[in-house]
């Protein structure tokens, strides 16, 4: 595992649209490694072999060291008797969600291999059954992604991958599966601020318009291997120091593209204890091609097979934006609460939100808010003190003990030509005291 580089936690935040999806990804990777043991039969049970050759359609050459994936056909694998969790449930109990995702993935048998220099591969000891066969190589479209894109919205089970090559694995037999990889479309461009300065090292994502709709259906997403394949749902890149990017291997279709700016990513570490309370407020800002903050204003990009586009520039304009600030306090004695999150949601675009957390005095500032009408929501608040529990783990996080809880409240905020200040909200005391926040509790 030496290869794993430490990631910028904020980049992770930026790239993954929902917690559920992040959990899925993290679990999926753990299980790529463990999928084979999961699938393994007793040592004496006979397995089958799959072999074949992967060729690049454009060059007619073998695909050197391409990744080949075998995935058990859904109807051929046991259905996990667990219902997927909603995003809300996931947020409430991430550990349970992780276990659940693991259980669902465990039912999925997945085997990966690489082709050699000659494009050939051979995978032995595969548990018997029917498998989808697909391959990926940078710049080429995964056949899995193509099949997934052709599926009708909301498709489940076998209907998720129409037309995908299926191999039948029998005991002590070698099934043959050749694949031809088609060159994908590629788009290039620059991300720049409105004054022309390049936006370097920001993530850029292109996603299929139709597939993005099914992305949020947890029942599909929980079972969908296309999510973890390059090009399955979206393709992500990072701009270089000049703000340039290149996204390749894109299947034909309609796309929207956005860049994600992680505006805030602060934390401190004292005596080995990491205080992530300021990191939790990280609220990324997305800019859609060519220069929109709302997805509905995004320019649609239609790509044909193997098309190269070189002019898809995104402008990031933060100058017309303003801040919203105020204080969250107790309705009883008006003291500032030291724990509360404040969230602004655009009245005309529920997907556009900006967030902040209060400081020790109850004050908050939400940065980079475009003009518009918003609902400002405080889901709840609390008076807290640092937890007295001694953390003893390898990595420790600052935790808090809740003294008193407060009910949520919301109000309307209009942002126009200036910063909006004095948006103060007073919260009523709650009847029940919420749980302590222990960040070391797993």
């Amino acid at each position: 595992m030496r290869e794993l580089r430490a990631a910028h936690p904020d980049r992770i935040l930026a790239d993954m649209p929902s917690l559920d999806r992040r959990l899925f990804f993290a679990t999926a990777v753990l299980l790529i490694g463990t999928a084979i043991p999961h699938a393994q039969q007793p040592a004496d049970a006979p397995g089958g072999t799959v072999s074949g050759v992967v060729t690049c359609a454009d060059t007619q050459r073998p695909a050197h060291f391409a990744s080949v994936t075998l995935m058990r056909v859904p109807e051929d694998r046991p259905t996990p008797a667990v219902k997927p969790m909603t995003d809300k449930e996931t947020a409430a109990d991430p550990a349970a969600a992780m276990k659940l995702a693991s259980a669902r993935m465990g039912a999925m048998t997945m085997v990966q291999a690489r082709t050699g220099l000659d494009g050939a591969y051979s995978i032995a000891n595969i548990p018997l059954g029917d498998y989808y066969l697909s391959a990926t190589q940078p710049g080429y479209v995964s056949s899995l992604a193509v099949a997934r894109a052709a599926a009708p919205p909301g498709a489940k089970g076998k209907a998720m991958y129409p037309g995908l090559t299926v191999v039948h694995v029998q005991a002590n037999h070698t099934a043959h599966g050749d694949l031809i990889l088609g060159r994908g479309a590629a788009v290039m461009g620059t991300v720049a601020f409105d004054d022309g300065a390049p936006a370097g090292e920001v993530t850029i994502t292109i996603e299929n318009v139709d597939m993005a709709k099914t992305d949020d259906d947890p029942d599909v997403a929980g079972d969908d291997a296309a999510m973890m394949m390059p090009g399955g749902f979206s393709i992500v890149a990072v701009t270089d120091d000049r703000g340039h990017f290149r996204l390749a291997g894109i299947a034909p279709g309609d796309y929207v593209m956005h860049t994600t700016l992680q505006l805030n990513a602060n934390f401190s570490i004292r005596a080995g204890v990491m205080d992530t309370s300021t990191l939790d407020m990280a609220s990324p800002l997305e800019f859609y091609f060519p220069a929109a903050v709302h997805k509905k204003d995004a320019g649609k990009i239609t790509l044909t097979a193997a098309e190269e586009r070189g002019d898809l520039n995104i402008t990031v304009n933060l100058n017309g934006m303003h801040s919203v600030s105020g204080r969250i306090a107790s309705a009883v004695d008006h003291h500032g609460l030291n724990e509360a999150m404040v969230e602004l949601t655009d009245a005309a675009d529920k997907n556009f939100t900006r967030k902040a957390v209060v400081d020790a005095t109850g004050a908050y500032t939400i940065s980079y808010v475009p003009s518009g009408t918003y609902t400002l929501e405080v889901p709840g608040g609390a008076d807290t003190e640092p937890s007295k529990k001694k953390p003893g783990g390898l990595v420790n996080f600052a935790s808090t003990h809740t003294l008193k809880s407060y009910d949520g409240a919301s109000q309307q905020v209009i942002v126009d030509a200036t910063d909006v200040t004095g948006v103060n909200v007073e919260l009523k005391e709650s009847k029940a005291t919420t749980q302590d926040l222990d960040r070391n509790d797993e």
Partner: protein, 412 residues
């Protein structure tokens, strides 16, 4: 960044938090969940001091937007060389300003990282040298210190990586390796030069300095390079972790075999081209040719000297007899065989370290009992000429302290 890298990135967060291998070994127990969209978070009381400041780009004199700022404290125990602890971080705003609160009183290096610019802390990490050219900032509890950082534009090295048939080598790692490094080669691993343990690794900015990946056309671009002498190496992964192979039952066999190819196209480290960077120049033509046709495969098997049974686990490493910097490694398959592909002609020292592992039933992964018997390392010298080579069976003897219970130790 490819989706794959994001997978890795996502994985590395909980991995790093939980302490690497433990998570993989015990996949039933979930790693700490990403602490991201948690319910409303508390603000910590403002104990400690505050660091504020501005970061500027030296070449354009403009504010450095959304640059990362890192606080590092020098460790007190310097018996094994300098070591540094991360104490926090922040990010600059549109105007280049930043604020980091809740910092314990003390002396800190305040360093910035931004794409295309030289991060002195990243340079120290890369070269294993003490941090230089970063002034120390003193922070008092309850007070605010102001820091101005001006970043120098770094050099750029770019080029194209191709196979010998002219086709692109896509999606592979390309790295500049400094020719001169500090006293140790591994970071945070008990050596002489360290950056703050697991937390340090998790939040190590610029740890990817001089590293990049080829795009689908085989083109790479490395930026923010400090002056110095480097070799340029591309790493091709020829197998996948968790792969099933004709000879084995699959599963983890240790790290996947990696092929290192140095510019302009050699597997021998001693023959690597030297890339010298003097200032902020751009070198656009450092191409690498990955010539794998006509190379050879070495295979063999490992057995017990005492009774001739095949060992079912362990590692095989290979070093060029005339260039000890050129090494390869692979695992021993469960059937006792091993193979290394794509070796150029030459003389190699092959070291085999075998084990008897309890049978993997698929249920006892990560600690189902049984014992592992370790064998002494055996080194043989082989010469690869103009064909593939099958070595004589390697005969291993049980090591002195040979038996280890694997009840709780992570399997490879």
């Amino acid at each position: 960044m490819k989706q794959n890298d994001i997978l890795k990135a996502v994985l590395s967060l909980p991995m790093a938090l939980a302490g690497a291998g433990a998570v993989l070994a015990q996949n039933v127990q979930p790693p700490p969940a990403p602490r991201i969209q948690a319910p409303p978070q508390p603000a910590t009381p403002q104990i400690g001091g505050t660091v504020t400041g501005h970061v500027y780009c030296g070449d354009t004199q403009r504010p450095a937007r959304f640059a990362d700022v890192e606080l590092l404290q020098q460790g007190t125990n310097t018996t094994r060389g300098p070591n540094y602890q991360n104490a926090g971080r922040g990010r600059t705003a549109l105007d280049g300003s930043f604020t980091i609160t809740g910092v314990a009183a003390g002396d800190y290096y305040v360093s910035a990282t931004m794409s295309g610019y030289i991060s002195q802390v990243a340079v120290a990490r890369m070269t294993q040298q003490p941090i230089a050219r970063v002034p120390m900032t003193h922070i008092d509890a309850g007070r605010s210190a102001d820091v101005v950082i001006t970043m120098d534009r770094g050099a750029v090295v770019s080029g194209r990586v191709t196979y010998d048939d002219g086709s692109a080598v896509p999606g592979v790692s390309v790295r500049l390796r400094p020719l001169t490094t500090g006293t140790t080669t591994s970071m945070g691993n008990g050596g002489g030069f360290q950056f703050g343990g697991i937390l340090g690794g998790l939040i190590a900015f610029g740890s990817d300095l001089g590293m990049g990946e080829t795009d689908d056309r085989g083109i790479y671009r490395l930026t923010g390079i400090a002056p110095g002498k480097y070799s340029l190496v591309v790493t091709v992964q020829t197998e996948t972790v968790g792969q099933g192979r004709a000879s084995g039952r699959g599963g983890f066999r240790g790290p996947p075999p990696l092929l290192n190819v140095y510019a302009p196209g050699t597997m021998r480290k001693a023959d690597a081209q030297i890339v010298e960077i003097r200032g902020g120049e751009t070198d656009d033509g450092v191409d690498i040719r990955v010539a794998l046709n006509g190379l050879h495969t070495v295979q063999g098997r490992v057995e017990s000297k005492a009774d001739g049974h095949m060992l079912n686990a362990g590692t095989v490493s290979l070093a060029d007899a005339t260039d000890s910097g050129t090494t390869r490694s692979t695992g021993i398959d469960p059937d006792g065989t091993f193979r290394m592909e794509y070796l150029p002609p030459g003389t190699y020292n092959v070291t085999v370290t075998g084990q008897d592992r309890p049978p993997d039933t698929g249920r006892n992964r990560g600690g189902g009992g049984g014992t592992t018997v370790r064998y002494q390392a055996v080194t043989q010298t082989i010469t690869v000429a103009d064909s593939d080579l099958t070595m004589d069976p390697v005969q291993a003897t049980v090591a002195a302290s040979a038996t280890t219970s694997t009840a709780n130790s992570p399997s490879q």
